[in-house]
């Protein structure tokens, strides 16, 4: 088999996972982790230059290229952050060295799972890959072995398994719908074949399948009311994992959902998947915005903010059309970058302060100016203030929907505003005022955080034409 970029994004994490499990010492393994994720990222970028051949199992097209590059980039910067974060956790004795080896190996397995889910051309393979990525994150969430961490991992596990089981039932139904048209066997599950024949599938079967898929993968996206696992998993696991969960794994599940949405859109007799997604998106957005108030744990607060933003993204994709899809895609990218940057800051902040309780964190801009202002900038970005990238994408979501469904936009804007004030209410005490608690300078790597924020800031002002046309192309594909 010839080595091309497509096998590269799968092979590099797989090899790295084995290597990292075998090698001792955390300095070496942390560096190797960074190198491996960087190589994966570089390989993913090369997908744009050389188009690999797609087979019945793997596929590269315009849609998943965007997801792969985003995933590998954030996983690379997270591994840089993770190196300094984990070092501190070992110093304070919160994490044992054996677990660190396990942690790094699992990090690569998770990357493998997510990349496989993104490049899979087979809906069964995609399901297996998403299950694998879920399993590894479950293990990572429980890595601190505290009562809360185990409970969060257990809850994530049970709810995630139910979600994944429903998704499989939906996948089987899609196969059943495809079988009479395409015939038995492998090709009735191959994505590219399914798409070309979608118009002839039995619409009733497709409808039921989509409901199961929406509930199943929607659980993994964290849509309300299926989100119960998400805040716990974010709060109790190591912060790099919170960043990867919010920034990446939710996107991968969303990607699966979008693929099936495209399938349904090609069948004129099937129900329109849009209204279902719009409803769930709106509920998630408004519900999570209200949940931002009265949070006492800083990581839980930002986990709810992730639910809110996934709601906005699903809303945008549910509305459909080139402009709303473009906005959804942009918002997803901006959210991934901003939310992971926030989690980088929050990770170091909770290490400096020795707590995640909001009540015990105060006056960060005075005691730790770099971290404090980094967090302020991140929250300003995530709240959607101009001129940052999220303002751009939220503005696009709102303006593209306003002409079509003004009432829906009012609900959406209400949710966004409620969320914004909720975040600023908390930010006020966290970042400003009298410093409280330990004020030792953080041994942090600020580069990943500010790199992400710089990209978000730039995107709010200027987007390269190549990127815009690329996104427009994908938005048209999504229908």
């Amino acid at each position: 088999m010839i080595f091309d970029a497509l096998t590269g994004v799968l092979l590099i994490p797989a090899v790295a996972a084995v290597l990292l499990a075998a090698l001792p010492g955390y300095r070496l393994t942390a560096r190797l982790n960074v190198v491996a994720t960087f190589l994966t990222f570089a390989t993913a970028v090369s997908l744009f230059i050389v188009e690999p051949v797609s087979g019945p199992y793997l596929l590269v097209d315009d849609l998943n290229r965007v997801f792969i590059v985003l995933t590998t980039f954030v996983s690379f910067t997270t591994s840089v952050f993770s190196a300094s974060y984990i070092e501190h956790e070992i110093e304070i004795g919160r994490l044992k060295l054996t677990y660190v080896r396990f942690y790094h190996s699992m990090y690569q397995v998770m990357m493998f799972g997510m990349n496989l889910a993104l490049v899979a051309n087979n809906i069964g393979l995609m399901w297996v890959a998403i299950e694998m990525a879920t399993l590894t994150t479950v293990l990572m969430v429980g890595i601190y072995r505290t009562h809360e961490a185990l409970e969060a991992a257990w809850k994530y596990f049970i709810l995630g398994s139910v979600g994944i089981a429903l998704a499989l039932f939906g996948t089987i139904l899609v196969y059943m719908a495809a079988k009479p048209v395409i015939g038995e066997g492998l090709y009735a599950m191959v994505w590219t074949v399914l798409v070309t024949h979608a118009a002839k599938f039995d619409p009733a079967l497709l409808n039921v399948a989509f409901v199961f898929l929406l509930l199943g993968y929607g659980t993994k996206v964290g849509l309300a009311p299926l989100h119960a696992w998400l805040p716990d998993a974010h709060a109790e696991g190591p912060t790099p994992i919170s960043a990867v969960l919010s920034g990446l794994l939710l996107n991968v599940a969303l990607y699966a959902l979008l693929r099936f949405k495209m399938l349904l859109a090609l069948n004129p007799a099937a129900i329109a998947p849009g209204p279902l997604m719009v409803t769930m998106g709106l509920i998630s957005c408004v519900f999570a915005a209200f949940m931002l108030y009265r949070r006492r744990d800083i990581k839980r607060m930002f986990a709810y903010s992730s639910i809110e933003h996934m709601g906005i993204i699903v809303f945008a994709f549910g509305m459909g059309g080139p402009l709303a899809n473009f906005a959804g895609l942009l918002h997803m990218t901006m959210h991934s970058l901003t939310k992971s940057a926030i989690f980088y800051a929050v990770g170091h902040i909770s290490q400096v302060k020795g707590t995640q309780k909001i009540a015990d964190i105060s006056g960060l801009t005075v005691s730790n100016p770099v971290l404090g202002w980094g967090l302020v900038l991140g929250v300003v970005a995530i709240a959607g203030l101009p001129p940052l990238g999220i303002f751009m994408s939220e503005f696009l979501v709102v303006s593209s929907t306003f002409a079509r469904e003004p009432w829906l936009v009012i609900i959406l804007v209400f949710g966004i505003l409620v969320g914004l004030s909720g975040l600023f209410l908390r930010l006020n005490t966290i970042a400003f005022g009298e410093p409280r608690g330990p004020t030792a300078p953080a041994q942090a790597s600020y580069v990943p955080m500010f790199a992400h924020l710089a990209i978000v800031f730039t995107a709010g002002i200027y987007m390269p034409p190549a990127l815009v046309s690329g996104f427009q192309n994908v938005a048209r594909l999504l229908g």
Binding site: E131, E151, S161, Y175, M176, D297, R300
Partner: protein
């Protein structure tokens, strides 16, 4: 007229639904475990029959996994865990037997109505298999909701998963069935090991009052 092979497949799938109902009213863990072993055994028989009818030898592998792993290894392991955790005398009554059975019947009726209407054009065997499979899935979900104990939740999840395997084998010629059943076995093994290692007795809440106080850091 239906052939003999159809009747046997029908009987096996129907028995699976019946055993799912039996699981709903078992309030002792040992009895529940034995019922689950029976559930897995019937699944193995059903998958083996499908392998024979469809002339698909790879499905025998799935049947073997169901028989060895789910009907023997997992029940034995859970049996020992129950003894170790000291919960073998526990009786759980979250929802009464009557309401649980009524809910279960409602779910089966729902899945019949949905699946039979939707799959009017599919071949009758696959069609009824799918309706039965959805019933088993929904009954498994119902069991997970009505139980508080971690072990019985896992049993609920496994019977849900049996329903999925039934659906996957009923869909004639579906690729990756063996791989999917292996992936599920790995998942279940992880869950069982998880219960054992971390001694999880209850699901989302805990009996430990002190732990409840700092629960999620949200209550003060």
């Amino acid at each position: 007229m239906h052939s003999l092979s159809f009747d046997i497949a029908h009987m096996l799938a129907g028995s699976l639904v019946l055993v799912s109902f039996m699981q709903l009213y078992q309030d002792r863990l040992y009895a529940l475990l034995n019922t689950f072993a029976l559930h897995a055994f019937i699944l193995a028989a059903s998958v083996a029959w499908q392998a024979f009818v469809q002339d698909a030898p790879h499905l025998y592998l799935t049947a073997m996994i169901a028989l060895v792993f789910k009907a023997i290894v997992i029940p034995v392991a859970l049996h020992r865990i129950i003894v170790k955790l000291g919960i073998h005398r526990e009786i759980e009554t979250v929802v009464g037997v009557g309401p649980a059975m009524l809910l279960g019947m409602g779910l089966v009726a729902l899945s019949m109505v949905v699946m039979l209407r939707v799959t009017a054009e599919a071949d009758p065997l696959a069609r009824e298999d799918l309706a039965f499979a959805l019933s088993v899935v929904l009954l498994g979900l119902l069991m997970m909701v009505t139980r508080r104990n971690a072990v019985s939740q896992v049993i609920g999840f496994m019977s849900l998963e049996n329903g999925l395997v039934l659906a996957a084998t009923g869909a004639k010629g579906m690729p990756l069935v063996v791989e999917i059943s292996v992936a599920f076995s790995v998942l279940i093994a992880f869950i069982v090991i998880g219960i054992f290692l971390f001694r999880i007795r209850e699901r989302f809440d805990t009996v430990d009052v002190q732990a409840l106080d700092k629960f999620r850091g949200e209550r003060q």
